[in-house]
Amino acid sequence: MESLVYVALFAPLVGSLFAALFGMSPKNLITGIATSALLFISWVASVLLLIHVVGNGAVSTTLMDWIGAGDLLIQFGFQVDAVTAVMMVVVTTVSTVVHVYSIGYMDHDKGFNRFFSYLSAFVFSMLVLVMSDNFAGLFIGWEGVGVCSWLLIGFWYHKEDVSTDINPSISPSWAANEAFIMNRIADLGMLIGIFLIYWNTGSLTYDTFFASIPTMDAQLLVAIAVALFIGAMGKSAQFPLHTWLADAMEGPTPVSALIHAATMVTAGVYLVIRANPLYSHEAVEGVSLFIAYLGTFVAMFAATMALVNRDLKRIIAYSTLSQLGYMFAAAGLGAYWVALFHLAAHAFFKALLFLGAGNVMHAMHDELDIFKMGGLSKVMKWTYIYMGLASLALAGIFPLAGFYSKDTILEVAINEDTYLIWFALWVTAGLTAFYSFRQVFLTFSGNERYKELGHRPHEMPNYVLIAMAPLAILAVIFGFVFMDSFQAFTSTVLPAYEMSHATHEIAWVFIILTTLIALSGIFYAYKKYGAGLIRDEKVESSFVYKLLSNQYYIPKFYDSMFTKPYREISDMLWKRVDLKIVDAIVDAIAKFIYFSGDKSRAMQTGNLSHYLNWMAAGVLLVAVIVSLSAVLG
């Protein structure tokens, strides 16, 4: 079984290095095919591992001793238990699809080979993140996915800043830097958490840490829980570190599907789930509840921004943000398996949604404004079906995957008697349904507004559409086929969360309520946009609309509160301190040394008799010192 672990882990790395060999050369189809094939191998290995773990329990293995210094011993150890196996299968499934999809999507890009190298490197880092059995390995993967995300968001780094009326001016490289820096802020929290764990347990492995939790000080546990969650907030783009996710849409669409929907952004949720012995401990109850409330807030907050956005990808990005909120809400309430289940289900339908958006973009020559589309269902039938399915799943319509996962989260909220959370999430479910279908209808039905712009949309090649099929199938069947076995399987690692009897009795009422609000959301969207775009000046100039479309002015706030003052301070330090003080001192030292070097070169006259004199002087010096130390010592 160990070999399977290594195959699953290293196949993407081999693919990445292979593609990197061609990094500087023109497009070569082999890189796309080879990396996809290797990812498929990784997927097979992951599935076999999953089957093995179901039958025989967790697998763990140690690759090598990585750091051994004093008391510190960090091993490159991997463990595959139920949670990891699920994550691995989700990651490799989506990655394989995205790789194949990218062969078509990146067809004309001159960075074709480079793209696949980065993409596979990302998958490798993500697998390190989920497979590691200690916090050091987790952190390596954590930073690895961060770097790959930076590389991929900024993949088209040559693009200039573009100014739109809705967003502050951003370019891919700006977005990449923003994502990276935001994550660095959060990583500091993460690192503090890891250091706290090391100082107090002397080890970084999960098992040692979890075993020592009962004996640890309550305040310390709270500190660790908070610090780790700050890390999770950055990676999963939770408020107030959420702004990077929407801007990250500057990257190529397959990247958005893989990294910014299905895998990397869920790493924060994974961390909370992985550290469940910590977060379910009674001492950190407050932190967990905070996580739940923050998740709920983000779910609603992001959904409202999605209501009015015109950018196809940003709408999906906000919906990702919102769904991550759902996951945190479930995890914060202690229903870890539910969070993980929603994570998996969301990965499938959201990746599908993004890839569908990619198809639309490809067809519309990178046009993203849904106000300029409409009526695309005639030319892009399959994309329409895929995106429709994914949106239905996202809205939580029976019997698609989203229905099961989202409904369970709402049930958990009822079960925990946190009615405020339930209500907020319930309203959000309605908003979700509305903005998903607003997007679908504006894109695919109604009048063909794109004709005015002279676009000639066309469907993607067949193999791309076939490659998307697995995601579509999973988005449909994942809930009703796998939910029960999923719960049984993950309960080997995660605390089994059972609904109380009372909740069970009245659950059907809430299911109906949720379905009703989702359906009414869809219906409202249909009424408003089914026939085509009718713009309403009054609404668009209202305060709420402006607030929402400007993302609550948070980017502007960050810009004026942090970015600009920081820039000014830096400028000041550069001009006043660095140039006038530091540089001056350095220059003075250099001048002094140079001067003395020049002077001492005079010793080097090239005259032999001078050299002989020097030698005699040296002998004399030696003699004097010897006699002095003989006399004195």
């Binding site: 070097g597 090239g606 020097w614 003699a623 010897v626 130390s629």
Partner: protein, 497 residues
């Protein structure tokens, strides 16, 4: 007897090779490359035998019935021989192009070089002062000839003359010192001096100390320590590239072989008397060397002057040995290896360029935009400069690290601080070259990487430097930096008293 023959094989091979080449050089039709290859062949066989000996030898005397205890064979001597031989082989192969590009090389050059190596190898084996003197002179006299080998160049002849006169004067001190030592002890064996000092701790030994000091002066002169360093820059600049390279790397190691042996064995009882000198000399060497290096405009001069600074670091460690550091001796050997590799590479690139482009004096300005013209060579040069400056992830960093560690271990924080300061200053003249190579446009178009034995070896040396700096333990069975340090300390253990 058979065992002795086996032990003497490497020495004998080099000697026979020298004689053979002497005769062979009378045949005028032979191409220069063939002389070179024959020389390398002799050296390589010798090297292989030394490598086998290193595994087996503990502590032996060569032909004890004939030479008594004049020649010692232990792991330390074998390790040094391995270094000389690999140094010579690398020097010869890297300079293969250079030899062909100059008309004044002939077969005798290689014979002389072999004689010089023979002298160095004898020096590593020596257990007796007269033998030591003969070995040093044998190595030096051949080098005097080699320094002036370019008879077209007045500079070369001038360098030779300076080197002969100053070197002879230094040699005089050595033999004078030996005479004084013999006068007191009545023997010239290293072990005898040691036991005399141990047994006469309360009697007056000032004459002996003066004698030993005179010997020290010679050795300090030969390694180019201040204030006996004035010859270094002139002679290095004046000599042909292969000879400079050979002197900077191999000769320096040879002198350290006897210096370490003397210092670890005979000087041990009188450390309190001589440590001050070592300290003063070390500090003076570091400072004066740095100042000289800053002022150089020619690269050869800069490398020559900076070699003085590197000697200063090793003298620091020598001082640390006296104060009681446990691994300073291994640190010196490690540093020798690291410096040997880095300097070899740097001189190698210079000689390659000189052979290729008919430039005799390579100044800093000639390197403007070099990275755009020859990216791979520039990358290798950058590695050599980084290693010489002691930049992390190169072997040069570890060399400096071990030296500073050993000095800190003895509690001499100020001395270690000075060493680090000097290392910072050295960044100036090393990085100047890197900056020139990368931050200026190239006047010439980009050239292809020339696949030749010299260039491939240069790249190989560069990789070894990086390997030594980071490769520790990543590949099993290949010695990384840790392995080298272990080998060095193992070799030091076999040293007899």
């Amino acid at each position: 007897m058979i065992w002795d023959l086996y032990l003497v094989m490497p020495l004998a091979l080099v000697f026979i090779g020298a004689l053979f080449l002497m005769l062979f050089s009378l045949v005028k039709q032979v191409e220069l490359t063939n002389y070179n290859l024959v020389t390398v062949a002799f050296l390589s066989v010798s090297l292989i035998i030394e490598l086998i000996i290193f595994q087996n030898v503990e502590h032996d005397y060569l032909f004890e019935t004939i030479f008594a205890k004049m020649f010692i064979v232990d792991k330390l001597s074998t390790l040094f021989n391995i270094l000389f031989l690999s140094g010579a082989i690398l020097t010869l192969l890297i300079n293969n192009n250079y030899f062909k590009s100059r008309d004044y090389y002939n077969g005798e050059f290689f014979a002389l070089l072999l004689f010089s190596i023979f002298g160095m190898m004898m020096l590593a084996h020596t257990n007796e002062l007269i033998t030591a003197f003969i070995s040093i002179e044998l190595a030096s006299i051949t080098l005097y000839v080699l320094v002036g080998y370019n008879h077209h160049s007045p500079k070369s002849s001038e360098a030779m003359l300076k080197y002969i006169i100053l070197g002879s004067l230094a040699g005089v001190f050595f033999i004078l010192g030996v005479a004084l030592v013999y006068g007191v002890v009545g023997s010239t064996y290293l072990g005898d001096i040691y036991s005399y000092l141990i047994h006469h701790q309360n009697s007056d030994i000032s004459l002996l100390v003066v004698g030993m000091m005179f010997m020290m002066v010679t050795l300090l002169f030969k390694i180019g320590a201040a204030p006996f360093h004035s010859w270094v820059v002139d002679v290095y600049i004046g000599s042909p590239f292969p000879v400079t390279m050979f002197m900077a790397t191999t000769l320096k190691i040879a002198i350290f072989s006897i210096l370490l042996r003397l210092f670890l064995v005979d000087f041990a009882p009188i450390y309190p008397l001589i440590l001050e000198i070592i300290k003063v000399v070390a500090i003076a060497t570091l400072l004066l060397g740095s100042l000289l290096a800053i002022a150089q405009t020619q690269l050869k001069g800069m490398l020559a002057a900076s070699s003085i600074v590197h000697v200063g670091y090793m003298l620091m460690a020598l001082y640390a040995i006296g104060v009681g550091s446990s691994f300073a001796a291994s640190a010196i050997i490690f540093y020798l290896i690291s410096y040997f590799l880095s300097a070899l590479g740097a001189f190698g690139i210079l000689s390659f360029l000189a052979s290729d482009e008919e430039k005799r004096h390579l100044s800093f300005d000639d390197f403007k935009g070099f990275a755009h013209e020859r990216p791979y060579m520039a990358a290798a040069m950058t590695i050599f400069m980084l290693s010489l400056a002691g930049f992390p992830s190169t072997i040069g960093f570890l060399g400096k690290f071990y030296i500073f560690m050993s000095v800190v271990e003895t509690g001499e924080i100020l001395l270690a601080g000075l060493g680090i300061l000097i290392a910072f200053i050295s960044i100036y003249y090393y990085f100047k070259l890197i900056a020139l190579m990368y931050f200026y446009p190239s006047p010439n178009p980009k050239k292809r990487f020339p696949f030749a034995i010299s260039t491939l070896l240069i790249v190989g040396v560069a990789l070894m430097i990086v390997w030594g700096g980071i490769g520790t333990g990543l590949i099993p069975f290949v010695a990384g930096a840790d392995g080298l340090l272990t080998i060095a300390s193992e070799a030091l253990k076999t040293i007899g008293k």
